[in-house]
Amino acid sequence: MSSSSSIVAMKKVVQQLRFEASINRVKVSQAAAELQQFCMNNATQDPLLTGMSSSTNPFRPQKVCSFL
């Protein structure tokens, strides 16, 4: 491999790292709180979480009506 092509490759690596190092970050405590808030806000709308009843979940078997 020629020296100039490895220099070009290394320059790209350095540029990419500079870019990644410069982004704005938030604290994990804040990020985690927001993830949790999203879960809480949407919990009631989550059928697999709340366990939908048979009548509303199209995949669960319907309860069979029988004449008494």
Binding site: I23, L35, D46, L49
Partner: protein
């Protein structure tokens, strides 16, 4: 002491070497700086923040439908937006469209190659895309006429130089995003087959990708055999964030429903959660007893549950916030190779090397 070179060579030789050495040093310094910056903000763990959250109770999830019809390992599946149709692809080259409510097969196509590793449903529900060892991604419009030969209308869209590992339509039927064993991802115009953007940065096969939820803008995440998960800007082609904490191939990546984080599943037997604003891994979902790789992951609608399909034939269900396993599901008789939650979150579907697909709810 310089060797007796001609004047031009002498002046070129020394500066080139210095620059390369400088660049290498700078790259090492930047990598350390990146780690330091990420570590500074690591003030707490996700499960600590979630201590006060109520724990989850027992889950009753069972196989509600079994889709039989593939002649070999099921490799991939995708839901239609109508929440009932599913497309699946297999090692035997067959791509089947099912009605998951009735388990009826609505369409079947035989691809010219085996190992159809990727398939996707178009947002309109009117077409499916698939590919694998043919190194291509092809789009088949779905006809209402069941007798029509789908293969006749096939449109070749993407061309890679190695196998197609994953594909996904973007917000419309007009563009497809692909990932490949050739180490790249690419965005294609379906109508013309033109390459719109390519994404270079992985050092080995790219195995999976997922598009950010539409509200969060034009980005997607990819995972590969280089153990990295990269987040990309779709318009510029630039890698905007990169995460390397897995110890083996990343087989699956999926965005958290808010778009602020994504989960990954790996051959290292763990699932991990990466927060994009904190720019770091914030949770690991693992147990000493789980030693087989994760092939596929997906979230429930609220993001509270993470479902993982494993090579030990099971599905593990994780509490995303607390980091604990809430359920383990049995049923498949071979590796679970693919797993997707339905668009309305009422069920999830798994595909397996046991030739079947199962719908769980």
């Amino acid at each position: 002491m310089r060797s007796p070179l001609s004047p031009e060579m002498a002046t070129q030789e020394v500066p080139l070497n210095e620059t390369l050495a400088h660049l290498k040093t700078e790259s090492e310094t930047l990598k350390l700086k990146l780690e330091e910056e990420r570590a500074k903000l690591h003030d707490v763990e996700l499960h600590q923040v979630a201590e006060k959250v109520e724990g989850l109770g027992q889950f009753v999830m069972k196989t509600r439908r079994t889709l039989k019809g593939h002649g070999n390992k099921v490799l991939c599946m995708d839901w239609c937006k109508d929440k009932r149709r599913i497309v699946s692809s297999s090692q035997d080259g067959k791509v089947i469209v099912w009605d998951a409510f009735t388990t009826n097969k609505e369409h079947a196509v035989t691809m010219p190659c085996t190992w159809v590793m990727a398939c996707a449903y178009a947002p309109s529900g009117c077409a499916v895309a698939c590919g694998g060892l043919d190194n291509k991604c092809s789009v088949y419009p779905l006809s209402l006429d069941k007798n029509e030969n789908l293969a006749a209308k096939k449109k070749s869209v993407a061309m890679h130089t190695n196998y197609l590992s994953a594909c996904s339509f973007t917000n419309s039927d007009m563009q497809i995003l692909t990932s490949s064993g050739d180490g790249t991802c690419a965005l294609w115009d379906v109508e013309s087959g033109q390459l719109l953007q390519s994404f270079h940065g992985h050092a080995a096969d790219v195995l999976c990708l997922d598009l950010a939820p539409s509200e969060t803008g034009n980005t997607f995440v990819s995972g590969g055999c280089d153990k990295k998960a990269n987040v990309w800007d779709m318009r510029s082609g630039q890698c905007i964030q990169s995460f390397e904490t897995h110890e083996s191939d990343i087989n699956s990546v999926r965005y958290y429903p808010s778009g602020d984080a994504f989960a990954s599943g790996s051959d290292d037997a763990t699932c991990r959660l990466y927060d994009l604003r904190a720019d770091r891994e914030v949770a690991i979902y693992s147990k000493e007893s789980i030693i087989f790789g994760v092939s596929s992951v997906d979230f429930s609608l609220s993001g509270r549950l993470l479902f993982g399909g494993y090579n030990d034939y099971t599905i593990n269900v994780w509490d995303v916030l607390k980091g604990t396993r809430v359920s383990i599901l049995f049923g498949h008789e071979n590796r679970v190779s693919t797993l997707r939650v339905s668009p309305d979150g009422t069920a999830f579907c798994t595909g397996s090397w046991d030739h079947t697909l199962r719908i769980w709810a």
